[in-house]
């Protein structure tokens, strides 16, 4: 138990502290960005945020880069991770674009009777 907390203390003293600053800042940025959004945009926004967390794809790429070519299991899982990560990114952005496409303003004066 002590070793556990000692390690955590060491971590905080190291580089990880910088990352923690970043986390706290980003939490505030996230709150600030969403708080004043009209409810009509909630769905596209959720969908857009959904695409952004597809950034996990970067992690999948890194993991693949580290996998040794004869570690079959890692390669299979890694390839799958890249595949589903890409689905998240591409699918997310395309769906969001389709939603937002519909919000485009009609040219004025075009009245159908």
């Amino acid at each position: 138990m002590e070793a556990f907390f000692q390690q955590i203390a060491d971590l905080i003293a190291q580089n990880t502290l910088n990352l923690i600053y970043l986390v706290i800042l980003m939490i505030f940025v996230g709150i600030e960005l969403i708080s004043h959004v009209p409810s009509v945009l909630h769905t596209p926004l959720m969908s857009g945020a959904n695409a952004i967390h597809g950034v996990v794809l970067i992690g999948a790429i890194i993991v693949m880069g580290n996998a040794s070519p004869d570690d079959t299991l890692s390669l299979v899982f890694g390839t799958l991770a890249v595949f589903v990560g890409t689905l998240n990114v591409i699918g997310g952005f395309v769906v969001t674009d389709r939603m937002l496409e519909m919000f485009k303003k009609k040219p004025k004066g075009e009245k159908v009777s």
Binding site: G30, S47, A60, I62, T86, V89, M102, K111
Partner: protein, 475 residues
């Protein structure tokens, strides 16, 4: 040497913040999405071709590229083909994919950690397991798995494949499972050696799967948007764990941004329904009704004909259309717009009243009506339209139910009590287009239908609207 990789990640991070900011305003929303997508592309290229030391093509590039190409093609096809009504399901499914990706990364990194730390020289050291890697790996695994399983259940619920499932004292069991997950993960750290900990590791995965199932099963279908939004922020946190693991700032920033934005979005949605998040998660309301199914208060329903409604609307001076999920299901948005145009041509003032949770997602109706080119200015949000009902001649409720249920105001025992509703009963005439007398998503009866001012036009929303269009034309 230029730090190309760092620059790529920086561009990615900044464009996520900028993109999300732009997505918060109707005018710039679409551009914002493209900005974020561009940033993602830059970050992926940086990861593929650069290390901190400069240009270096990543190993196993052939597999990675193959997976990216396959993911791009399939993802695009899925996203392009999906019907507008099925959009929420699609978002949930893609969200689950992100969670799965995070969980897989953790599994691979865990095996990696096990092999390096189990080597003889490492075994001599007291703390062979680097906690700075262990925590992000396990957190990524647990949160990613819960998000993946939960999203798949949510997806199944939205397309009707999975029903609600509750049993007594579920909350306690959920809490026990959650504590068990953390306990096993801690044991796994303490008893770190090659045989034991693999077992603990698999138990952790198993428990996370169980938790994911238990978490979403009891929640009513009407609350799914809230759940998807919450799971969305979970996946963000899972991605951020990867950021810690690799000290990768773009993953960290993107993940935390979505984690926090998603959480706020969830709270905002709950507020729009006047429910607390806790209340939604416990699975209250929606379906189990709390014994408040008002026994139709003895009234009878008045059925009306399309011809009468057409006359009523044509000679009205002001008509408000209240769209709901029925409009989406019937894909009636285009006919609806046609009817609106015809009435406008007759000099009728036509507006749409948009309840914040009409449909299955906040903003669902806006997206749907915008698809059929309804003017953005005609879609009026609840707070602004409610005072107008008193001066309205005809309210046309198209496939909406719970959002116009007066029980939300009058019946304290109703599960939707306290939810703000559209005050349609203030109008002179109410016409409800509905397939049958079946209860709405909350599973409760609607007294409005028995109101003396209310007439029911039964049938599929699209067919009924088409009839109305034809009748108005014929007049």
């Amino acid at each position: 040497m230029m730090p190309y990789m760092e620059i790529g990640y920086l561009i990615g991070s900044v464009s996520f913040v900028l993109g999300l900011k732009m997505m918060g305003q109707p005018d710039s929303a679409r551009k914002g999405n493209l900005v974020a997508a561009f940033g993602m592309a830059v970050a992926v290229i940086a990861a593929l071709f650069f290390t901190p030391k400069g240009f270096h093509v990543i190993s196993n590039l052939q597999y990675i590229v193959a997976a990216i190409v396959a993911g791009t093609v399939i993802g695009t096809l899925m996203a392009k083909r999906v019907q507008m009504t099925a959009m929420p399901e699609m978002v949930s499914l893609f969200n689950g994919m992100g969670g799965l990706s995070a969980a897989l990364i953790s599994i691979i990194e865990w095996r990696h950690l096990l092999h390096t730390s189990a080597s003889p020289e490492a075994m001599d050291q007291a703390a062979a397991l680097p906690i700075g890697m262990y925590i992000p790996i396990m957190a990524g695994l647990i949160i990613g798995t819960i998000s993946f399983i939960g999203s798949i259940v949510a997806w199944g619920k939205l397309n009707g494949k999975i029903g609600d499932f509750r049993f007594p004292s579920q909350q306690i069991i959920n809490a026990v499972v959650l504590v068990a997950i953390l306990g096993v993960a801690y044991l796994n750290y303490g008893e770190f050696n090659a045989t034991h900990s693999s077992l603990y590791f698999f138990i952790t995965i198993g428990l996370a799967i169980v938790y994911g199932l238990l978490f979403v099963f009891p929640i009513g279908g009407a609350d799914m948007p809230v759940v998807i939004s919450l799971l969305n922020s979970f996946t963000g946190v899972a991605a951020a764990c990867g950021g810690f693991l690799y000290q990768n700032k773009v993953m960290l920033m993107g993940g935390v941004l979505v984690g926090s934005a998603g959480t706020i979005l969830t709270v905002v949605m709950c507020k729009a329904m006047n429910r607390s998040l806790m209340n939604v998660l416990i699975g209250m309301a929606g379906g189990n009704g709390g014994g408040s199914t008002t026994s139709s208060s003895g009234g009878s329903v008045r059925e009306v004909q399309a011809t009468d409604v057409a006359v009523m609307m044509k000679y009205a001076s002001k008509v408000i259309i209240v769209p709901g999920y029925g409009l989406a299901v019937a894909q009636a948005q285009h006919v609806c717009h046609e009817l609106e145009n015809m009435l406008e041509a007759e000099g009728v003032d036509v507006k749409y009243a948009i309840h914040p949770v009409a449909g299955r997602m906040p903003g669902h109706m806006n997206v749907l009506l915008a698809e059929s080119n309804v003017d953005y200015d005609k879609l009026i949000e609840m707070e602004h339209i409610n005072p107008e009902f008193a001066t309205t001649d005809v309210v046309l409720v198209v496939g909406a139910n719970d959002v116009v249920n007066p029980a939300a105001k009058t019946d304290p025992t109703s599960p939707i009590y306290g939810m703000p509703i559209l005050d349609v009963d203030q109008a002179k005439q109410i016409i409800v287009l509905k397939r049958s007398m079946k209860a709405g998503y909350a599973g409760i009866e609607n007294e409005l239908f028995f109101h003396p001012k209310c007439g029911m036009l039964f049938g599929d929303a699209k067919a009924s609207l088409q009839k109305l269009v034809n009748e108005v034309k014929a007049l």
